[in-house]
Subunit: 459 residues, 2 copies
């Protein structure tokens, strides 16, 4: 019956057959003739010396030649192929300290595999992208190919990997929880509504309920996934779909246990970025934070007092009694204060007033108007929200009654607490915000692959 | 300014402070007195010998005592606390070959941290869950705590980790693409519609368009995330939200390159399950497949001929001219055939007719009515769809025209091909289906954490 099997092309029946030299591996092939495949990034003719730069998925390779003939494949009839044409570039690898990356190809042979005939809507062969934010986002499909742009998203991948790696080492189990949910329960507002076979359903604002439920199963859980916020904010630091790095775990003492775990997670993430992403960090001129052995923290009430003393009459100050929250300006002031006092890029503000926190928040046993929760500021912007949750069934019933919420929509959620839950807590890190602050870019949309906001749902 | 910082409880300012002995680590503490924390799983009084079983996030621990006094903390007044109460159990670790796991605790001291007073809706202390599917799913919040149930989802976590690990080693980059999309483009049907600030938007059926676009950026990409299918199927093998393991990569030869990569990914996944998940596999009596060095494959047309010869008059046979697809029964016949002919749990059916494949599918250059694509059957069920995609802009324009589709909704997608894309392809593995076949369970809902189907969107 062997004859029933097709004969596949012999060269393609093993993955190894398609492996070729990557741009970042040239140093292993000095003196050899190799080929790279990729996108024609740039062609420069500089008075008798010609440079051809090819970009593959990991970097760029430069070929040098004095012979105009070597560039002949670029011309097809009267026309010359445009950047982004798919090419194969063969050449002799030589170490050249002044070349980008330290190596270049000599005696190049260029082959056009798929020509491009139109100039790009936004040029990506220069060191930086020169375009308006709107133009960049409209053409994100090609603009994200720019080495600086894609470095942002390579860092995103490294952050996710390091987040998982640390928590896996701490015996956390990964979960993937549903994004379509039955009721707009968590806050009751700002949820996207969808048509679910004729009934209403909603997009999950966070995996909060499910990650708590799963503490009952695995004790320690994490999830990396999309969350959906129908907030009608049109600011530089809000988008309506983003990637949340969530963790939740049981048998904690209080929110300081959660903060300690968060500190270790972030320390691992930044250490891994330093180790694995040197090229990307350099390209983006990123300054990694120093992670203190313990994150400095200040109680919300103390923070408000401090701000009142120093900035009480300035724009951006909010009186605690009127608005029990921190304004963006107050967060920046606190960030600057933490930098000045402790030399720290991070500051945890603990004990946010209970009336600003969701019903599942655990109160501070000694000051019940305040919560066992925190926000972590990174360079003056809220990066993480975390804290201890209620764990006793009776406390949930009380909290819902206090919040004037019915129990019925929460029935399944409450089942977890009715049948045994330990003291627990967790946190959620916004991936795009972490990158925004790390890279010091002015808009969250610049660290989001394909952002969704009030006015944009494409590309 | 140190005084502005709170003094946190000293025992909780380090993560290490909350680490205690996990159930799976008892072997490291023989002869020591340790404590475990968790859920009261079971209490058995067997004629003078009492067993208390505590479940933590990773396994169970059994304590043995002849003294009824040691069980006294279970009684509070007239009542006895119920299973799932949160407890701390201290005892002397001893090696006992006949105990579950090989160790047990002697001279136990039991402390009730949070009592449960009601019996569970579905009992989870027996070896197997005895309940109807509906009852199990209605109470998934607590039923998923059952050791067998949670083993399923521990395997899910291991599959995701191994998938990423293999592809990372092959220089793939992880991406997270948007789930809210502007148009119901991929197939035009079976998408969930949502209200996006007053306009219509849709939930992504797959990351297909975005992963192809990202081949233009990273050359090799993968994504693990939710996909949403508004298919009104009410079968044991369909759900409406599931986890898709997607990969896509450039510079392939054809769909056999994709199949070779897929084979290596699956081989790594099953090898990792064997290495890391022995306890779960044993608990679920799972039979790991043997992964052949090359996946046997048969062309769709040959498969149809084979089925016609052997089963042409049986129920489940579909004539190719009437329905260019495989019926579930035909998939099972082919699965049995692959087992019999090649001793393989896997069979790739290649070259599905173009008219059953989406517009971006690459045709077979030698037989244009058939495609350069495949379905991978795992024990007679479609597990993976994969193949080569079109990569030339002109081919996309032709394909859309042939399919009678307008170009406007695809404008951003087409930008990728207009500006240079290499030959590429990829695949998508359904996580829950992989587990369903691996564990030989009759319904996909049993390998889904909180399934969504026609009739269910909670818990």
């Amino acid at each position: 019956m062997q004859t029933r099997l097709e004969d596949p092309p012999q060269q393609t029946d093993r993955v190894e057959a398609i492996e070729h030299t990557r741009s970042t591996e040239l140093g292993q092939h000095v003196g050899e003739r190799v080929y790279v495949q990729g996108w024609l990034h740039n062609v420069r003719r500089l008075g008798g010396v010609n440079f051809v730069v090819v970009r593959d998925g990991w970097g760029t390779v430069q070929a040098v030649t004095e012979s105009e003939d070597d560039l002949a494949p670029l011309r097809q009839g009267e026309r010359e192929v445009q950047p982004e044409s798919i090419v194969r570039l063969t050449g002799m690898v030589t170490a050249t300290p002044q070349a980008p990356g330290g190596y270049e190809l000599l005696q190049p042979q260029l082959e056009i595999m798929a020509p491009v005939w139109e100039p790009l809507p936004v040029l990506i062969s220069k060191r930086e992208v020169k375009a308006s934010l709107t133009n960049m986002l409209d053409h994100a499909v090609t603009v994200n190919r720019h080495p600086q742009r894609r470095a942002v998203f390579r860092l995103a991948a490294a952050v996710m990997a390091a987040f998982r790696e640390y928590l896996h080492g701490r015996h956390f189990t990964e979960i993937q929880t549903p994004k379509i949910v039955a009721s707009a329960t968590e806050s009751g507002a700002n949820v996207f509504k969808l048509d679910y076979f004729g009934d209403a359903a909603y997009l999950a604002q966070s995996p909060q309920f499910y990650k708590q439920i799963m503490v009952g199963v695995f004790e320690r859980v994490y999830e990396v996934g999309p969350v959906f916020r129908a907030e009608p904010h049109d600011t530089a630091r809000h988008i309506n779909e983003y990637v949340s790095l969530d963790a939740e775990f049981g048998f904690i003492e209080n929110h300081f246990t959660v903060l300690a775990m968060l500190r270790d997670v972030l320390a691992h993430i930044f250490a891994q970025l330093e180790e694995r992403c040197g090229a990307e960090l350099t390209l983006l001129q990123a300054r990694l934070p120093v992670m203190p052995a313990q994150v400095p923290h200040i109680h919300f009430a103390e923070a408000k007092t401090l701000i009142h003393q120093r900035h009480g009459h300035e724009v951006g100050y909010m009186d605690e009694r009127a608005e029990p929250d921190l304004s963006p300006q107050e967060e920046r002031w606190l960030g600057a204060w933490a930098q000045q006092e402790f030399g720290s890029d991070f500051l945890a503000v603990t004990g946010y007033p209970m009336r600003k926190r969701p019903f599942y928040t655990h109160a501070d046993p000694t000051r019940p108007a305040y919560s066992n929760s925190f926000d972590l500021l990174f360079r003056g912007l809220e990066l993480v929200t975390g804290g201890q949750r209620l764990h006793l069934y009776a406390d949930y019933l009380n909290a819902l009654a206090t919040a004037n919420l019915p129990t019925q929509p929460f029935e399944s959620y409450l089942e977890a607490f009715r049948y045994g839950m330990p003291p627990h807590g967790g946190f959620a890190i916004g991936l795009e915000r972490l990158l925004m602050q790390l890279l010091d870019v002015p808009n969250l949309r610049l660290t989001t692959l394909f952002p969704r906001d009030l006015n944009r749902v494409a590309p």
